[in-house]
């Protein structure tokens, strides 16, 4: 019994990725363009094959016509110039609005590629970061959202097949990828530019909410972590082990910036950038030895913790909803 399906929830599963199943107005033009180009190239291929067959096997009179100068002018020059120019105009008119800069009043989310996870900052109208999250992008359904793609280390590429095409995240640049999901739901995404060892394990989930749910989510997510008296032991392990040097939990002393913000880590669908289901057991496994799960990632294995400590700290993190 073998299975290839990754166990993560909401991430891309199986093959092929759903690139021909658009779920919003920024993916639909790419779908039309793909099928249009395929139809066009298939038609041209058919014409060329028929012409070749005629040139080889047709009666002499037909072959003579095929060799005439007029056909070279029409089929060899005029036809490609007209067809390719039309395709260019069509393609540009379909895609030019996919990468416009953010418009006033538009929702803005800054997505920063990191080796090998995604830092996600929700921006207010003035472009200031309201709060930070990781490895999930939450959007309201039926409304365009401008993703401002950046990178701090190497080139990554964000690909949400059902919502738009791939766009690179380049250090020192800010690329705009606009997405819109027409229906609430979860849309898997993946880093599409090789960025080092665990590149294939750098996934992401886009969660589209009904508009009212989105507002509620945003309010909740912006709040600091609620005190967790029931998990005082786990919080003590978190503090003692120095987790706060790399991770922030708003509302506590943990204020590290190197790794993902964990303020509401228990509310996420996945762990380790879209690769594991999120529950206490998976959290314990990740903390205990994430290197066995995602070799090369920047978090060391915490084999110094006892079994009880590992259970306590994972229960604490799971409680951060």
């Amino acid at each position: 019994m073998q299975t290839d399906a990754p166990p993560a929830h909401g991430s891309l599963k199986g093959w092929p990725p759903p690139a021909l199943d658009p779920a919003g107005p920024f993916a639909a033009p790419l779908n039309s363009l793909t099928w249009g180009l395929l139809a066009m190239t298939a038609a041209v291929l058919a014409i060329v094959v028929v012409a070749l067959a005629l040139a080889l096997f047709a009666p002499r009179a037909w072959r003579k016509r095929l060799g005439g100068e007029r056909l070279v002018w029409i089929a060899g020059i005029a036809f490609p110039v007209v067809v390719l120019s039309a395709l260019l105009v069509w393609g540009l008119s379909l895609t030019h609005r996919l990468s416009e800069p953010p418009r006033p009043g538009e929702l803005r989310v800054r997505v920063t590629g990191e080796m090998w996870w995604w830092r996600v900052g929700y921006l207010d109208a003035a472009g200031r970061e309201a709060f930070q999250d990781a490895n999930e992008i939450h959007i309201p359904a039926g409304r365009p959202v401008a993703l401002e793609l950046e990178s701090t280390d190497v080139i990554h590429s964000l690909w949400i097949p059902r919502l738009n095409g791939k766009l690179d995240m380049i250090p020192g640049r800010r690329n705009i990828l606009r997405i819109q999901a027409d229906q609430p739901g979860e849309y898997g995404a993946q880093c599409a530019e090789f960025c080092g060892g665990p590149h294939a394990l750098m996934a992401l989930v886009v969660v589209a909410h009904a508009p009212a749910d989105y507002e509620a989510w945003k309010v909740k997510q912006g709040e600091p972590a609620a005190p967790a008296p029931a998990h005082a032991a786990g919080k003590a392990v978190f503090d003692r082990a120095g987790c706060g040097a790399c991770h922030a939990i708003r509302g506590t002393d943990a204020n590290g910036l190197a790794g993902p913000d964990l303020t509401h880590v228990g509310s996420r669908r996945t762990l380790g950038a879209g690769v594991l289901p999120n529950n206490q057991g998976a959290l314990a496994g990740w903390i205990g030895d994430s290197q066995a799960i995602k070799p090369g990632n920047r978090m060391p294995a915490y084999s110094v913790l006892s079994g009880q400590e590992l259970r306590d700290v994972s229960a604490y993190l799971e409680s951060l909803k």
């Binding site: 019994m1 496994g285 079994g307």
Partner: protein, 118 residues
């Protein structure tokens, strides 16, 4: 060489340990649950290509193992209890209590007992 292969075959045919079976449990559903819960985050489990965690022990050939976690007899009802709430049995274990129901834990145990080294 042939003699050695023959001896190995004979060794496979009559196993010196009792087989551990669960009537009516569904090992296929057990594997699905194992993947959905992410047991591979800690354990190397044959049939799960990834992840192959190194926090807990490998579960390969579990049906031939005498003890669970080195301290409880490896019997189906003990295994099911362990899968559901390990800390209740061993307070210092790193393995947290799971969300598995009794029937789900039976399916998971059935899958784990189907793993055979040979």
């Amino acid at each position: 060489m042939i003699g050695l292969a023959g001896a190995t075959l004979v060794a496979c045919a009559d196993k010196p340990f009792p087989s551990r079976q669960l009537a009516g449990a569904n090992p296929t559903e057990g594997l699905r649950l194992i993947e959905a819960e992410g047991c591979g985050a800690c354990h190397h489990i044959p049939g799960v290509q990834w992840p192959r965690g190194a926090v807990g022990g490998s579960l390969d050939n579990l049906q031939a193992q005498a003890m669970i976690a080195g301290r409880f007899p490896n019997r189906p009802n003990v295994m099911i209890a362990w899968l559901r709430d390990a800390p209740a049995m061993a307070p210092d274990t790193a393995m947290p209590a799971s969300r598995l129901t009794q029937d789900q834990a039976r399916d998971v145990a059935a899958y784990l007992y189907s793993l055979d080294a040979d």
